[in-house]
Subunit: 292 residues, 4 copies
């Protein structure tokens, strides 16, 4: 089918290619003239598509996305449909849906996983929206998903797709942290000759065999003991939001929270918490404290 694609960064571009390989007609737009865009404005994109239009938006959450939604709400009309495939917070999907439905425009939110591997292997897709709207974009979803029985779920109404993806990312953080802690212990222990060898061996026959373990094995192959990688990691929002919602639901998520905190800590120089602890030790114990 025909589809517009807004945002031709790494993810959007790969998706557009997979859709074209699948026989769909994709009209691409990006704000950057250096992208391989087909049209040079949102207006041109809208004009290039036959109504009722379907447009996939692959734009960073927050201001860039809000601005795109606002502009599209003015350019599109009754019966058109926007698919938000980015990492939007589920609470914002509700806002966007309200804005758009006032003009008769539909919204489907899609959480997508698999990063740079999706172009070839397909993307795990978690979809939120009305049955009608989700049915309408099945051809698109089926081209993007991996082959086989899995990789696509209609998770619920508006926001459910991003909600499911948010939880997926929380699990991802927890799994990565578990692998990381295990590796760090192997590296620190005198018992283990070579931590990398142990990790490699786990790729088959172990209970923890997983794609993440395979990726760690790849990384260790390229850079033994990860000696060229800095001990810092960013976080991208979804897991923070997940923990925030779990707090409200009353569901403790201690392992996933530990994973987020480890990343946040790695970004903090000279943490105020440890200043307090150090100052207190000095006050009651006369323990020396390193001055800046």
């Amino acid at each position: 089918m025909q589809i517009g694609m807004i945002g031709l960064g790494r993810m959007g571009n790969n998706m557009a290619e997979r859709l074209r390989s699948g026989g769909h007609k994709v009209v691409g737009y990006d704000i950057s003239p250096d992208s391989n865009r087909d049209v040079d404005s949102l207006q041109a994109l809208v004009d290039a598509l036959e109504a009722p239009r379907v447009i996939w938006v692959m734009v960073p959450a927050g201001k860039p996305l809000d601005s795109t939604i606002t502009q599209l709400s003015n350019l599109l009309g009754n019966g058109d449909l926007i698919i938000d495939g980015g990492n939007t917070r589920f609470t914002e999907d509700q806002e966007h849906a309200k804005t758009l439905s006032a003009k008769g425009i539909g919204l489907v939110d899609v959480g997508t996983s698999n990063g740079i591997w999706g172009r070839e292997n397909g993307y795990a897709l978690m979809v939120g929206g009305s049955d009608e709207n989700v049915a309408r974009i099945q051809p698109i979803l089926h081209t993007l998903k991996p082959e086989g029985d899995f990789g696509l779920v209609h998770a619920g109404g508006t926001g459910a797709g991003h909600y499911a993806k948010m939880v997926h990312n929380g699990i991802e953080y927890g799994m990565m942290q578990a692998l990381a802690e295990g590796y760090a212990v192997l590296e620190a222990s005198d018992f283990i000759k070579d931590a990398d060898d142990v990790v490699q061996s786990w790729r088959k026959g172990s209970v923890i065999q997983s794609w993440l373990l395979d990726l760690l094995s790849n990384a260790l192959h390229k850079d033994p003991h990860l000696s060229h990688i800095a001990g810092k990691a960013d976080e991208t929002g979804e897991t923070k939001w997940m923990i925030g919602d779990a707090l409200e639901l009353g569901i403790p998520t201690p392992a996933i929270t530990a994973a987020l905190y480890a990343r946040q800590s790695s970004q903090i120089q000279d943490p105020a918490t440890m200043k307090v602890v150090s100052a207190l030790r000095n006050e009651f114990g006369g323990h020396s404290i390193a001055k800046d």
Copy 2:
């Protein structure tokens, strides 16, 4: 090659079968007359094997294992070799090795993973011991491991095999907890129509695709929403030991620790911690506290 197998429970029996299918001659012994043992005493087992003997011990750690090692140290002689394939604490391997080496008996410790799936698919094997002893049992290890490049590592000297397995189990706990927390949030949220469907969809194309996710999917297929399973989980020691050793190494393992604590908490009725919190709330806030 020829090998004795002591302990014919689920794990030991499966391993004996896999070894026999691989062309080895296995003489099995178990304390229970109801097992399918080949001989009815340790002495008979030793007599049935040609020196220098190799005996795989698959007996619960702690007293049963200690007793077996002590008896074997009296029955075996110079050049014989014991393989401890159970879930022994790595610190105890050192003790056992000392006892045995005084008689010229070797020890190789092997951590094994894959549970009930190993019979058919092979076991991930983590091996500790001297190069010479580990070389000697290669035919056995190659039959037990999965096909392909992975699933076997000589992790280091005595204790290293159980150490690596201990870390493997720590990671396993962390990954399971991450999956569990994600599932619990999906179940609790009004956004998600059916948590089970979302989990199924992740089996392909997602970053968290893994054997554990496949197993969860199987379990959900058999028992939707796990409604027939009690919300309690045991722990089996290795992860506790891993955290203990990480504490000494100065390596924080917060996600894995969270996983262990969640299991321990699930076993405690009426925890003293919450009694204290509740009593304090009553003292300063007059908050009512439920009496037993």
Copy 3:
């Protein structure tokens, strides 16, 4: 000075009494006819006070408070001032301030601590609002606070009082949990003859001497080993909000988060997390799982 007091539950009533003892003229109102209210409607309260009025609102956060604020915004006028002394989320103070300032009504938010002990010993007060508004209510604040140098702070603009109280409560949760964990370990260990005696001894000369320790000592005195208290504890919102804001600020709060999760866990029967862990153990290890 003259002040209205809305909400005559335990906290509001105690405060009204402390204010009267301090020489202020308090007009009290509560929705319940069984309270010792002076007037029987908000309108009557407003009529009983001379303009420009000052009204202390001590009403549960959420709907009761929102409704009270809305009604007062219609009854009060330019120059009047509302003090919200409840446990309101700091983000809602902003909303309320906006509603009220449209009518020329001021808002000061005050976090109050010390629970049932404040009547006699004074309340720790954390205050948010404009310099002008906070200055205006100094006589009230000075009567309510404890004697001496401490117990009162103008923490910042609108919302800062409740923000500071929220953080106070987070610390409180963390301290209580630390005491609780220590007590639970003492109770469980064979080394300790009587955990209660040990706790009592810490009241002087120890680094952990604190009001909470004194309260625990009182509770243990009344109910040795807390044998009549159930091992469950509620949470009241502030700590959850604090963790939520810390997540956004990128400041890890692992000990306080652990304290909240322990309380939340104590409220959950048959947790879905442990169902998942148990189901997985069964899938890969054939471990038996208790059915409901």
Copy 4:
């Protein structure tokens, strides 16, 4: 009464002074000639005391203590008594008691709190040993403890004193971390004008009023916002041991564990855990990773 004191560092020296002020005759020894020791060898110390002797040992745990105990076991005789007042691991008390009892020498283990404040205000003392031995040193204990009803407990048999002190330190870590997290959030939030002012205000009327809060207030007074203190903190062993024992007891201690992990993390440059997380993010998402 008469007592020997071995180890005249800050703690030992202060205790000797407090004992002398209390009318006891103290003979001090330290390995360092620069200390204000009364005798210059262990032999001389033993000779200077009348049998049956009582000797307080205030020496670092581990090798220095083990060596001192071994030497004393050869110099002392039947009926003599050693008091170990240091931060010894409770498991080692058992070893020492065995060594000493073979010679008829008694051992009492005493955990002491209050650091540099004890000289003047007294030390909280947690005592382990037989009723008879503990009775014998009551005059010493009563001089060292604070005035009043609290500050001294006979916690149980050998090791119980150090066990109780270990738990005390675990609670101390948890309380300090709770304060630290709260302070860090106040510092990071735009809502709060001055975090230091808020902390000061809590010293009276709040639920968290405590000696540690007073000490933090002192520290902030000397060094506003702790700007001259590095964000790092050491750990001294006891809390690590407490968590280790709690793991074996099956009692989760998540807040105290979080406190320890925060300190351990602050000591690690370029943690392997975050290298793994960063490497994985690069593998699946193409996220850039900072090279060393």
